[in-house]
């Protein structure tokens, strides 16, 4: 269920959408942009730094401060992480230090976050759309009874100082812009790598505000027994690969998917696929690319037999060069690809792979060169 869950056509202007009441007096006090900093096992999740970059732009537009919210058990570690937050753009860091915050659990983190919001009243609160961020955001928004826009792909401030949050809708076939007009804070989550990593500015400083949690371990029902880290070999390096080759239903069968893997191998890249092929089981779920899968920002992205619905596009829009192979000349992928060919991917891929391998091989002398001699 989404912020626009019922697949009904968009409402015409004149309905509630255009009705923006003057913000109630008690909500006018809500100021500043906050980013929840996902800090686990001694490291800040990259998505939190990406959000500091995006939050910085929003705060500057609003003329307010940007704050990071850091929670954990070790005060010394949190202070170190706060330094990173300042260097990536935060003016303020709210610190909540308590032994019960050693590992992420919904209950104490929800309390810490909602206490902070109620005490310091931010107008915007951003979280990463990770397993942690999504677990926390829903609880916080429901506790505060405010609006939450999930998995946004673009954030902006409109003329009336409201947050305009854009996300795919209708299963990823269209985009919609969502506002939380008469409630504060305006909450949004953003998936990792959708926003670019901001530049670090070494030596940039900010101020720290400490806040207590007042929660005893005995009062928390859920206990963390263990954390089993993923083995490196289990992790697809897809999200961080420089070259990605992906396939869609246009490959027609699971057997034909080997053409995609083969090309990825020749290019020293990673392979992936669209949502329908992930659902068909042609690729593992962690190799799905798009809104509900991985967001990638490679130097080269080759999409074979992928139509390019929004839900896919938002996952690849950050690629430097997008190459599309599709037999349908009207496929939406040609609207955002840089180079395209209207061809059957099953036929084209093997020839293309061979030609590439030949060109990249040391002993290869281009035919054109021989002819010229």
């Amino acid at each position: 269920m989404s912020n626009a869950p019922q697949p009904t056509p968009p409402r015409p202007a004149g309905g509630r959408a255009s009705k923006k009441a003057e913000l109630p007096e008690h909500l006018k006090a809500y100021r500043h942009v906050w980013v929840f900093i996902e800090y686990e096992r001694g490291a800040i999740h990259p998505v939190s730094l990406e959000l500091l970059g995006e939050g910085r732009k929003l705060a500057d537009k609003l003329g307010v401060e940007l704050a990071g919210v850091l929670m954990g058990a070790s005060h010394a570690d949190l202070l170190l992480a706060a330094t990173d937050c300042f260097e990536f753009g935060a003016d303020v860091v709210y610190l909540v230090t308590d032994p019960v915050l050693a590992d992420y659990r919904n209950e104490p983190f929800t309390k810490a976050m909602t206490d902070l919001v109620n005490a310091y009243q931010p107008e915007i609160l951003l979280l990463g759309a990770t397993t942690l961020g999504r677990d926390l955001a829903g609880s916080v928004a429901t506790t505060l009874l405010t609006g939450l826009t999930a998995d946004t792909t673009a954030l902006a401030i409109d003329e009336e100082r409201s947050l305009a949050a854009t996300r795919p809708t209708f299963g990823g076939s269209l985009l919609c812009t969502i506002y939380t007009l008469n409630f504060r804070p305006q909450m949004a989550t953003v998936r990792p790598r959708v926003m670019p990593m901001p530049e670090r500015r070494p030596g940039r400083l900010g101020r720290i505000v400490e806040h207590p949690l007042n929660l005893a371990e005995d009062d928390i029902i859920t206990k963390v027994l263990a954390f089993l880290p993923d083995r490196d070999s289990d992790k697809a390096q897809l999200a961080f690969a420089d070259i990605v080759v992906a396939g869609g239903l246009g490959l027609k069968s699971m057997e034909n998917f080997q053409h995609v893997k083969h090309l990825a191998q020749v290019l020293g890249g990673e392979y992936g696929g669209s949502r329908p092929v992930a659902h068909k089981g042609w690729i593992p779920a962690d190799r799905q690319i798009g809104q509900t899968g991985k967001t990638i920002r490679p130097k080269l992205y080759i999409a074979a037999g992928i139509s390019g619905a929004i839900q896919h596009r938002v996952g690849v829009d950050g690629a430097d060069l997008i190459v599309a192979i599709n037999s349908d000349p009207n496929a939406p992928i040609f609207d955002f690809a840089h180079v395209g060919i209207v061809a059957d991917a099953v036929e084209f891929l093997p020839v293309f792979t061979d030609a590439l391998r030949a060109r990249l091989s040391l002993h290869y002398v281009p035919e054109t060169f021989l002819v010229a001699k």
């Binding site: 829903g138 609880s139 928004a141 999930a150 269209l174 993923d230 509900t292 839900q311 209207v342």
Partner: protein, 289 residues
């Protein structure tokens, strides 16, 4: 536990997203003929609920959905998979609900289900839907019911009905978290955590004739209608639009009258002309072999 254990599964009927198309001229959704299915992620929740019922023995599974009258189809399917009872929350009051309004209605209905057939010990949802993709409804229901919340559960490691405790593995960032908590609990199930069973013939026959319990907002005992639907939604959809094409059209590799290998060479040339650094990188990598 002295009474039967009660498990509630929240399902959503969604359009089969693989078949949604956007009208090329009007940019509106073409929904004609697009079949509806149970949200695929919810099937993992349903199967886990059925497994838990089978394990505990004295237990019942109630499936709940909020949606238009035609959502009855999905509930009937859930009964055919083996669910014991189906409740459809359907009312025009719910139209336009965002996640907050949705969780208000669903949590209210779960309370009514609890009052009618026994307090649910476990509520299951899928990790997210394929049409909304927010993953926020499960956590919202948990908060409203004040249930312990376990999201992205990949495995129930142990379940002690008598002690009312549960131990699960859940997908976390960079690893798997092993957690224990007490009932009542709301779990959102990760994909591939199980595989939906083939329902029995007996269940199929029962499902075909079963009564789907239909509740309006009033039937469900929802106290404040202003918290439902569009009125109860803090978020407002201001515009829905198709993405704009890139200003610069894609460079099309000519195909007519060209052989496959000529097309491949043209494509390679186009890529390396636009990104000369790529070829250098790739050649450097080859030399390192």
């Amino acid at each position: 536990m002295n009474t039967k254990m009660h498990i509630v599964v929240c399902l959503k009927q969604v359009p089969d997203s693989a078949q949604i198309r956007v009208h090329p001229v009007t940019n509106t959704i073409m929904r004609q003929g697009v079949p509806s299915v149970i949200n695929p992620y919810d099937l993992f929740a349903l199967e886990e609920a059925l497994r838990l019922r089978d394990k505990v023995g004295a237990a019942e599974v109630t499936v709940l959905t909020m949606g238009p009258p035609m959502a009855e189809d999905s509930l009937r399917k859930a009964l055919a998979y083996g669910a014991d009872r189906a409740v459809l929350l359907t009312d025009r009051q719910f139209a336009g609900s965002d996640t907050l309004a949705t969780t208000y209605a669903l949590a209210s209905a779960i309370r009514k289900i609890g009052a009618t057939w026994g307090l649910p010990h476990v509520v299951f949802t899928g990790k997210q839907t394929i049409d909304g993709d927010t993953a926020q409804v499960g956590p919202g229901i948990a908060k409203r019911l004040n249930y312990n919340q376990l999201t992205y559960v990949s495995r129930i490691a142990s379940f002690e009905a008598e002690a009312a405790t549960i131990m699960v593995e859940r997908r976390a960032e960079g690893g798997v978290q092993v957690l224990t908590t007490r009932l009542p609990v709301l779990m959102t199930m990760l994909e591939d955590s199980n595989e939906i069973r083939r329902g029995t013939m007996a269940d199929a026959l029962r499902a075909a004739q079963a009564e789907i319990i239909k509740w309006s907002a009033v039937d469900a005992g929802i106290p404040e209608l202003t918290k439902c639907g569009l009125r109860g939604s803090p978020t407002v959809v201001k515009k829905v639009f198709a993405p704009t094409a890139r200003a610069e059209k894609a460079q099309q590799i000519p195909v007519s009258g060209r052989s496959w290998s000529e097309m491949a060479d043209d494509m390679i040339q186009a890529i390396f002309t636009r990104r000369p650094g790529l070829e250098t990188d790739l050649l450097a990598r080859t030399e390192n072999f």
